[in-house]
């Protein structure tokens, strides 16, 4: 089971939970309230501001219309009059100008722009040409009159505008102060950060502004063009940026003059109630959170104390203390948890005991297997090392585990790639009869690689020493081969035996009749009938050597017969003359026999060979044919002695061992010499009939093969040889009992 470890503590979780369950609903409620109140507030403010704007508009219209009305009355008089009367006009201009605060001056010019009358009366100006002025040019061609854009005359510091209307003989113009507009702005709404009004002329230049400098400096309202384009007769409401602040701007344009009246409502005002509400909600949240925190702290402490006790107990359990002392918990649920923990501890203890036993058992099993078992991971690092491999390599598990297989079993280096490939491909690998040498001796082993199943990458490597199996197999093959050769030889011998008997018998008769001719009647009669005498025949035979020839036939025939007799023993199970013998005694007798053997004595002195006896004195007597066993032993001694003699082995010796395997009910005889030894090929063929290393005619090559048959066929035993060139040979005979 994979557990994703979290670093969140109950305390953190609880705090987040509190925040979410307390703050979020409050926030949601707050935001909803703010939005709702802001919406209604905006509606109210918009309504109030629109009304305010309408009032201001109305006031301005009234303000400028009074001037227009007065101008229209003069125009009317001028148009009605037939003769221009300067004094009447002067009076008219005076009455208009004086009766209206905003009117600064009024003037009448003719169609050429020559000033006819001005009020206040200015004789310097009267008679001058105003035809260059825009208001003159525009008014003259206009039917309804012309509003000039504002300007600040040299002698004033507030803006002035003019309205000109054409009359039949020129234009009449009134100049009126826009200063009162400033008072509209200031009186209509007290100037503060929240709300203010501006008025701009038809060119977008401020003519009234809470910041008077903007008027004096003739600053332009940059939004003027925008609103002028949008103007459709109805007040416009838009959010605008002014002096880095956001304002809800209500705009209307006074059609007659082309002036723009703008009311700026600071958006923060709309947000103010929301902010106040937010502050209250925040305060409320803090209070609720504080109470909740105090309660939660007590609860959390209770929980965390209990948990800490349980954690501490769990750690003790983890450390192997299966007798935990669990304190009493504050909460019922934790007491239940505590009981469960106790129960769990007992079960863990039980399982661990079983697990340890099981593990020990597995370890014992692995160690008991008389096979090399090595566990490796996917990179070839040793993870398992059983006792057998400790014995074979001399390396303890502690030394080998964690090291690379190459380093601890160097002879597996060549196999490493295959082993890793087997792990990768998850295929069992078996390499059989891999040869190797220990101290010059050839050994064989089977290497099996079993990739681990499941998700773990690795393998178990089993190495079996099959040297003995190989040898046994080879021996069995040899045995089979010898059996077949022996059968063949026996068959041949049987076939030879009958004619040979005839030959030998005839040779014997011939000897009787020709060599040792007896003066018996039948011989004398036969000589007579042949016209000779017995003496002549004897004499002839003697001269021609016939008796010797016949004797030679007899000798050769007997020898053949002896060979045939031996060959027949390959197949024949002789009628056994078995009785119980002590092998140690039989060996000693054979040694004595060999020492007195004429043939042995003839060629060398057997007594000069050192005999070392390593007998098992508790060896039981075994049922066997004593003579036959002696024959076998004698054969081995003879061959060994001959070999040592030929090789001129110094301090030649035989080591004779006997031992018993009571379990398998076998006794073993080992005859070890320190002669020249044999090569592999010779070892393989040593028991074959007629195989000899001696010169032709010296030996028959039947000695050891007959011995082999005596042991294997006649006694159901086993016979083998181990030899090493230049070191010596060891014959091993095992006999059942």
């Amino acid at each position: 089971m994979i557990i994703t470890k979290t670093k969140n503590s109950i305390r953190d979780f609880f705090i987040i939970f509190m925040v979410l369950t307390i703050i979020l609903p409050l926030l949601t409620l707050g935001i909803f309230s703010i939005i709702a109140s802001a919406g209604s507030l905006q509606e109210e403010i918009t309504k109030a501001n629109t009304e305010q704007l309408a009032i201001i508009n109305s006031n301005i219209e009234q303000y400028i219309n009074s001037s227009i009305d007065e101008l229209s009355s003069i125009k009317y008089l001028l148009d009605q009059g037939t003769v221009y009367d300067s004094s009447i006009m002067n009076f008219m201009l005076e009455s208009i100008t004086v009766s209206h605060d905003q009117i600064l001056s009024t003037e009448i010019s003719d169609e050429n722009g020559i000033l006819l009358n001005t009020y206040p009366h200015d004789p310097v100006r009267i008679g001058t040409d105003i035809s260059g002025y825009e208001y003159f040019k525009r008014a003259l061609i206009s039917e309804t009159g012309f509003w000039s854009s504002s300007f600040i005359p040299e002698q004033l510091d507030s803006p002035v505008s003019s309205i000109s209307q054409p009359w039949k003989g020129g234009i009449v113009t009134t100049f009126f102060s826009l200063e009162n507009l400033q008072s509209f702005v200031e009186l209509s709404i007290s100037h503060n950060q929240d709300r203010f009004i501006t008025i701009t002329d038809q060119r977008g230049v401020y003519i009234a502004h809470p910041e008077k400098d903007k008027v004096a400096l003739r600053e332009n309202d940059t939004s003027f063009r925008y609103f002028q384009k949008k103007w459709s007769g109805e007040p416009i409401s838009e959010t605008m940026t002014y002096n880095d602040g956001k304002y809800l701007t209500y705009v209307s344009i006074i059609d007659s003059a082309g002036w723009k009246v703008a009311l700026y409502q600071n958006i923060s005002t709309l947000r103010k109630p929301g902010l106040i509400m937010s502050a209250w909600i925040f305060l409320l949240t803090i209070i609720v959170l504080s109470f909740a925190y105090i309660l939660a702290e007590k609860l959390i402490n209770g929980i965390t104390d209990s948990l800490n006790d349980l954690i501490s107990t769990a750690r003790n359990i983890a450390d192997g203390n299966y007798q935990p002392q669990l304190p009493s918990m504050e909460f019922l649920e934790f007491n239940e948890l505590s009981d469960s923990l106790t129960k769990m501890t007992e079960e863990i203890h039980l399982r661990e005991t079983e697990l340890i036993y099981s593990e020990q058992m597995q370890k014992n099993i692995i160690n008991s297997i008389a096979t090399v078992l090595i566990g490796i991971d996917g990179e070839g690092i040793v993870t398992l090392w059983n006792q057998h491999v400790e014995k074979t390599t001399g390396l303890k598990a502690a030394e080998a585990i964690g090291k690379h297989l190459d380093n601890v079993v160097p002879r597996l280096s060549e196999e490493m790639d295959k082993i890793l490939e087997a792990i990768e491909t998850d295929r069992k690998l078996e390499n059989k009869r891999i040869p190797y040498e220990i101290d010059g001796e050839h050994h064989f082993e089977n290497i099996s690689v079993y990739p681990l199943t499941g998700n773990i990458r690795g393998a178990v490597i089993r190495i079996d020493d099959v040297t003995e199996n190989v040898r046994i197999e080879e021996m069995m093959i040899q045995s089979e081969k010898m059996l077949s050769v022996g059968g063949l030889a026996a068959g041949m011998a049987h076939e030879i035996n009958n004619p040979l008997a005839g030959v030998l018998q005839t040779a014997s008769v011939m000897g009787n009749r020709l060599s040792d001719i007896k003066d018996i009647q039948s011989n004398i009669k036969a000589a007579d009938e042949a016209g000779t005498s017995i003496e002549s025949i004897k004499k002839y035979m003697k001269i021609r050597g016939i008796p010797r020839m016949i004797s030679s036939i007899n000798e050769s025939g007997k020898r053949v017969a002896a060979i045939v007799e031996n060959m027949l023993s390959f197949a024949r199970k002789s009628e056994q003359q078995t009785s119980s013998y002590s092998l140690n005694t039989l060996i000693d007798r054979t040694i004595e026999l060999a020492a007195t053997d004429y043939d042995l004595k003839r060629d060398y002195d057997f007594k000069s060979i050192k005999i070392i006896r390593e007998y098992d004195e508790s060896l039981p007597e075994i049922p066997c044919e004593g003579a036959k066993i002696q024959q076998v032993l004698l054969n081995i001694f003879r061959n060994g002695a001959e070999a040592m003699n030929e090789a001129e082995t110094k301090e030649s010796r035989f080591v004779l061992r006997t031992k018993a395997d009571l379990y398998n009910r076998k006794v073993f005889i080992e005859i070890e010499d320190n002669g020249p030894g044999m090569d592999e090929e010779t070892q393989k063929r040593i028991f074959e009939p007629f195989f000899t290393t001696k010169p032709v005619g010296v030996g028959t090559g039947l000695g050891l093969s007959v011995s082999y048959f005596i042991i294997t066929e006649n006694h159901n035993g086993e016979m083998s040889v181990k030899s090493k060139k230049g070191v010596g040979s060891t014959f091993t005979i095992s006999l059942p009992f």
Binding site: T128, D129, E134, F136
Partner: protein
Amino acid sequence: MKKVTLFLSAILIISALFISIIYFRTPKAVKMGFIADLTGRQSQLGISVRNGFLMAIDEINADGGINGREIIPILKNNENDLEVCLRETKKLIDEEADVIIGPLTSAMVVPVLEASGDTPVISPTVSTDRVTGIDDMFFRVIPAASMQGKALAEAVIKNNEQKVVIILDERNIEYTGAFADGFKEKYEGATGIKLQIISFSDKSQLIGISHSLIEINPDALVFVSSGVDAAGIIQQYAKIADLPQLYSSYWGKASNVHEYGGSTVENMILIAGFENPIKKEKEIEFQENYRARYKIDANFAAQYSYETVLLYATAAQNGKSTNPQTVKSEILKLEFFEGITDNYSLNEYGDVIREQTLFIIRNNEYDYY
């Protein structure tokens, strides 16, 4: 709890880093100071200069500013007062203005240069000869007043005017004096005829001057005054006697003498900044934009003011810096600067070398003379 604190701290640190990165990555703005007469007698011209100044800044900012830096205008009003001018200029320096555009009148150049130190000052309209031929941080795009006077004198000479009277406004003597000197030098040098100079320093003197002029009965009157003052004299003159040939300095056209003079200023010959008979595309575009923005036609003051901003922006852009010396070097390095109406260059003293045009008022409009 510790985790929550850590989390909040992390958010604060990240926010602080983010804000710092945003703050430090925002290029520092170029502060462009402006000083002119925005109120008072010369305010009409001052407003024009300010309009051109602000329009140029808005256009440059819309195109990405100077080397990616936004231009922030800082406006100051010198109220046609030398002390106020000195004080306001010092304020601009305190507010770390990278450049000062202004002043409007030649009279104000002294306090401005006194306070500006190493900060470049580029004036659209100051033409006094006092600052001509000096290797300093003052630059201008209008020819020196004496050059204007000489150019107008050539026309007067050509018209074979014999009895010539110059009427000048003493209140702007830095300009009017230099103009008159240039005119006088050229005229008297060429004709050997002494010309007469009448000056005034108050509006109340205008009627008296007009009467004096009638008595002199000149062949030509040369006005080195504002349009309204010139018209004030001419209107009174015209009421009594036939007018002689009228001439005017830059100031006349700049301050709409045709408006104040009406028919009385018909045929007045005026020297003014260069204008193409056939308007250049750039000139048309400038005029259209200006009219759309301010609902009036741009005069030379607005145009020159606009050009001063462009000149500074070009120099700072080329030098990739607003360092005063770099800007100066780049301005002087310019082989020519493409103005609204004409190409011009500045000599090693920062004085402009550009053409001038003679106009004549016909049908109350300015026509090429």
